[in-house]
């Protein structure tokens, strides 16, 4: 070694009041301690955090601002849908009017008579379908998550099961519905199994791709810091998988509901699908359309009121103010 600068190192003093903190020594002074920063530097100010909210609609005229509100846009879409329905009612006698459908469903809800032996029934079929759906998802989503995590973390499991899972994913919900009907007949097990089998591949594949999309640099960091296995699983693995996992779960909710309806349509003696089939067979199109609309409404409400809110909450970290094409183009 060659000395370049012969100036001796600074002695402990005002510039260096700390010296070495030996292993096992008491914890360093806390931030409120005024001596904490007496290390020869002036205390550096805490930087102010700017306003992180997006600029919003400033610059648009009042009517354009109103038209850009999400609930207004949705209201317009709903009005268009009703107008198209009304037009089809006038153009074809095979399409029941809005009024007929609402009236029919009201009779179902109140348990009134549809004429002859037919009486309204609503809460029983709806409750049963929701129960089957909940049980199916409660089994299918965790099972798919475990399979997905195994596929993502183990190359051996991936080699063993990845292709099979992809094949299962490619099968349409209707196939699962028919298979479940064949295997379990007119029982409540068939719709539950159909929901489970539909949900598993969607959740598994998305969890798996989520695990594999985690930045290897973060894994290197975890290795360098010898991060505990628990923290790696909870914070890195599950946290990093969450965006894909949400996609998988949303798909499981939608396709599971579809397969439930199909199984109930073909091989059930109760439930939403069975009720829709009943009115279809009885040529009561208002009842058929009413139950199908209820089916669509429920899955839409579930998506809007539960899944999207959860998603928004879970992905706060990714919500940066961004400029969309529409804003860029002044739309």
């Amino acid at each position: 070694m060659t000395d370049v600068a012969q100036r001796p190192p600074a002695p402990p003093g005002p510039n260096d009041p700390y010296g070495q903190v030996p292993r096992g020594a008491p914890a360093p002074p806390r931030p409120n301690d005024p001596t904490t920063f007496a290390s020869g530097f002036q205390e550096l100010p805490t930087l102010p955090v700017g306003d992180l909210r997006p600029a919003g609609d400033a610059g648009y005229s009042a009517p354009r601002r109103a038209l850009r509100r999400p609930w207004v846009v949705q209201l317009i879409a709903f009005a268009i849908l009703l107008a198209v329905w009304q037009y089809l009612t006038v153009a074809s006698d095979r399409v029941p009017s809005i009024e007929k459908v609402v009236s029919f469903m009201w009779t179902e809800v109140t348990g009134g008579s549809h004429g002859g032996m037919l009486v309204g029934e609503f809460w029983g079929p709806l409750g049963l379908s929701l129960q089957r759906y909940a049980i199916g998802l409660a089994i299918g989503i965790p099972a798919g998550a475990v399979l997905g995590l195994a596929l993502g973390t183990s190359s051996w499991v991936r080699g063993l099961l990845n292709d099979t899972t992809l094949v299962l994913l490619a099968l349409p919900a209707v196939v699962w519905a028919f298979l479940a009907s064949l295997w379990f007949g007119l029982t409540s097990t068939a719709p539950i199994v159909a929901v489970v089998l539909t949900a598993i591949p969607f959740v598994a594949i998305n969890f798996s791709s989520g695990v594999r999309s985690i930045d290897p640099a973060l894994m290197e960091m975890s290795k360098a810091y010898q991060v505990s296995r628990r923290n790696q699983v909870v914070d890195l693995l599950l946290g990093g998988t969450l965006p894909n996992a949400f996609t998988g779960v949303r798909l499981a909710f939608t396709t599971g509901w579809n397969s439930l309806l199909i199984v109930e349509w073909f091989s059930a003696t109760a439930g939403v699908g069975w009720r829709a089939r009943l009115w279809y067979d009885a040529l009561r199109y208002a009842g058929f359309v009413g139950w199908i609309l209820l089916f669509v409404l429920l899955i839409t409400l579930l998506d809007r009121l539960v899944l999207r809110r959860l998603e928004r909450h879970a992905f706060q970290w990714n919500q940066k103010p961004t400029l969309s094409f529409a804003e860029d183009w002044g739309m």
């Binding site: 100036r7 600074a10 260096d16 931030p31 020869g40 290795k223 923290n231 706060q316 970290w317």
Partner: protein, 255 residues
């Protein structure tokens, strides 16, 4: 007392599809670091600086040779500041700090807040990394490295992606925290002024991963880049760097 003992360390990367040749990153590095010193590893691109640090951190394995990083005879705890902050985007600043802690107790939370205060980020502990500037993110990375109470602190060109002003400010933050803790530090850089401003000793690597020179820097702290003494040492290091380049060029021509 922490010790890093590196003996005849070699790292050869095997051919890949994109580059079908073996690459020698380190060609028999010998060095030792003992005690509470700040050592800068200086060298041009391709001299194996990052590989050296990764091997010390246990992220990569050497082809041959050995690295011992110990504290009082037991394997040392390492804190690593990477080139990029490497924060979990889905966790807040505070939770990124706590990620490297085994237990998320009140004590570890207070310690995390303490080090965030040290780097001037106590007000943003609840924000996500994407809501911070690059400089602020790197300061979180520095605070995180100190939070694990490391025996050995490794830093891999932590300011190389910063503009000059931010880099200067971050160096000041780093000096400040290091003066408080006095951890054994290995700091990789290709910036001579950065090395002189921060280090007690500068180890120069030449391309191919061989130690070319080992220069002690005995200057009082805190140091400022405008200090004439700092500039004088910088000039000397640059002169040696030139002679290294000449030796490499001459060696290549002779070979």
């Amino acid at each position: 007392m922490a010790t890093v003992l590196i003996e005849n360390l070699t790292k050869i990367y095997p051919p890949t599809i994109t580059y079908p040749h073996r690459v020698q990153a380190l060609g028999g590095v010998n060095m030792s670091v003992t005690g509470n010193v700040f050592v800068a590893v200086l060298g041009p691109s391709g001299s194996g600086k990052t590989t050296l640090l990764n091997i010390v951190a246990g992220v990569e394995t050497p082809t041959s040779g050995s690295v011992r990083a110990v504290q009082d005879g037991v394997p040392a705890q390492v804190g690593y500041v990477f080139q990029e902050p490497r924060l979990l985007p889905w966790r807040t600043v505070l939770n990124n700090m706590l990620y490297v802690q085994d237990r998320k107790s009140d004590r570890s939370r207070r310690e995390a807040e303490f080090y965030l205060t040290m780097v001037g980020l106590n007000e943003v502990a609840h924000l996500y990394p994407s809501q911070l500037s690059a400089g602020m993110q790197q300061r979180v990375g520095i605070a995180r490295a100190f939070l694990v109470n490391p025996d050995i602190l490794l830093m891999d060109e932590p300011f190389s992606h910063m503009d000059a002003l931010t880099g200067r400010s971050l160096r000041e933050y780093l000096q400040r925290v290091w003066l408080h803790t006095r951890k054994t530090a290995l700091f990789v850089t290709h910036d001579v002024s950065e090395a002189v401003e921060l280090a007690d000793r500068i180890v120069m690597l030449r391309p191919g991963g061989v130690v070319f020179d080992d220069i002690p820097v005995n200057l009082p702290r805190p140091r400022h880049p405008d200090d004439p003494a700092v500039r004088a040492v910088e000039g000397e290091v640059l002169r040696r760097f030139d002679s290294m380049e000449a030796a490499v060029r001459f060696g290549a021509q002779a070979g």
